[in-house]
Symmetry: C2
DNA sequence: TTGAAAGCGCTAACAG
DNA sequence: CTGTTAGCGCTTTCAA
């Protein structure tokens, strides 16, 4: 099975020599542009066969260097540890390939430095277009790309210098909060303010979700408890320690909450189980984001599932149409009740 | 914020002209090789500043084309829909970057065609090395890479023409089965054969896990029920319908099972809930793979967590050392009891 | 100390 | 119908 590493890879020149023709003919044939170059199908045949035999593989670096457009499309994404980003990446790759583009994806672990580092790297690789997903500073990336003449689309978190595709965070949060409020009233016979936990207070999504959260409270005539608004970050540990502090601070813990992302939920649930504070009854939960196992955790959880296919179709529609105005497209998420 | 797309990107020639020097000097400075070229720090300074001002970005295609190593490292991965592969990719990117390599990852959705298509694409992009993760046909990829003189490492699923890093599937399955068997005996006061469900019967991991499963039964003096060995594939739907068929076929469903991957577990759990067959008591489960929310599903579940950091360190050790012999490195997974 | 020049593999005029 | 040629932007001898 093992083969000595060849000193050199087969090039179109090697093929040309073997076929007794020129490199440009080989290039044309292998690119499928031989019809318009009116190369004899005989020659084309021969070249194709030789390429096959020799295990010829195009050198993309050389090809891209020469061409106008690279047909490489990049995406940066914060994490791979949840279904939301996972399916975004999968969809992205699929749709990119369907268009004959080569997708390159990189994960920046919510690190602002790494984020722009990654964007720079992608520009170096001559991406034709860059999707910035959940970026902490989309405009920084937008500027970088703008300067290089590369198109950008923001996904999940909006920016102001390129088109953005995001969920309808306000609407989703409004509906989710309504449901949790209703579930609480049903079980406890009274209305009370919920806890909001998780996410960065500074990001657009979180603030829109808090707005929806407030609106639902207002609708229900419940006054929001400001000490219960805790956008402590996304990491599980952050949510865990925020819960801990809350427990230490006051006497009664809220019996209903809005958890901003499955990742934060991981921390919340961990704390709920470890601390034993909810031993006599689990709280009613609403989670902004979907996960199949969370859906099985019990009937006290409602989830919002962001419409990933819808979002990515919108992204590629923007790319295909060539729009560059910084408009924001809102995609309604799906609020599901899990049984 | 918006900027007109520049007609042309700044090159080292532009910089050279602006600095009143040559392209080679610029190149040397920007690569940090100016010490050994003994370029005056004055000139170096000037060039660096200009590059900054002009927003110069290296053209990697040109650079890679000229160099003999690309410093690009590729990985193909089956799916992004579970924690195992998600963390593999994250670790991979981190370790690659730490070595000054540019990671490119692509997801092949367990599609054998796409798998080799992706491998070919990566070779075209001149990867120095390719990691084939959970590939359906690692040797096919190995051959492709071998022919191109590119190193490969198999991860998760072993191949025979390149080094492989995999979990100790036998050991993990043995211990996991032991525990489920013991849990069942504790609760039901008797020993009985478990169900094995999920995974492809043809892949190495699944067959090793079945071997471990059998060994644990033998140890416990329980005869394996051959009709309960169901490697039905990884997709949730597959597991779901396998459960359905099992229920239709026989009278009593097993009260204990070994589920091969969280993905299969998703289908199993869905069926368990929907069918109502386990209404009077959930079965004891063992899951080969870890997920934080599964861990919260109850005390009737045991999980095996594969040692992703350990596996990736082994992968990069192989890469760093330059080994190419097709040995298999086994990394012990962690069997955790969740409370 | 620095610059000139060759060439990586490929594409796309242009000239037969 | 086919070949020759001129670069794409960069790295790297080799000369000065």
């Amino acid at each position: 099975m093992k083969r000595a590493t060849q000193a050199k890879r087969t090039t179109i020149y090697d093929l040309a020599e073997l076929a007794g023709t020129s490199a440009s003919a080989v290039s044309a044939v292998l690119n499928g542009n031989w019809r318009k170059r009116r190369i004899s199908s005989q020659l084309a045949e021969r070249i194709t066969r030789l390429a096959e035999e020799q295990g010829y593989a195009l050198n993309m670096q050389a090809s891209v260097l020469r061409r106008e457009r690279s047909k490489i499309i990049g995406m940066i994404v914060p994490k791979y540890d949840n279904r939301y980003f996972g399916s975004i990446v999968e969809q992205f790759e699929t749709l990119a390939r369907k268009r004959g583009l080569f997708p390159i994806v990189t994960c920046t672990r919510r690190d602002p430095e790494l984020e722009i580092e990654a964007a720079r790297a992608m520009l170096s690789y001559q991406v034709d277009c860059l999707i910035a997903t959940g970026a902490t500073d989309p405009d920084r990336i937008g500027d970088l790309c703008g300067a290089a003449g590369v198109r950008t689309v923001n996904l999940d978190l909006p920016g102001s210098c390129a088109p953005s595709v995001i969920s309808d965070n306000f609407g989703g949060a409004l509906e989710l909060t309504r449901r949790v409020l209703a579930n609480c009233e049903k079980e406890f016979g009274e209305r009370f303010p919920l806890l909001f936990i998780g996410g960065r207070g500074t990001d657009h999504n979180t603030s829109e979700r808090i707005r929806g959260f407030r609106a639902a409270h207002a609708e229900a005539n419940v006054e929001v408890d400001e000490t219960l608004i805790l956008p402590c970050g996304y990491a599980p540990e952050k949510a865990e320690s925020a819960m801990q502090q809350l427990a230490e601070g006051g006497p009664a813990l809220p019996r209903g909450m809005f958890v901003n992302s499955t990742i934060s939920l991981e921390g919340v649930m961990r704390w709920v189980r470890r601390s034993g504070h909810y031993a006599k009854g689990v709280p009613h939960l609403g989670c902004f984001d979907w996960d199949p196992f969370v859906a099985m955790l019990g009937d006290h959880i409602e989830m919002v599932r962001q419409d990933v296919p819808g979002m990515l179709h919108a992204v590629f529609e923007i790319i295909d149409s060539g729009t560059a105005e910084p408009k924001v497209v809102h995609i309604p998420p799906i609020v599901e009740k899990i049984g």
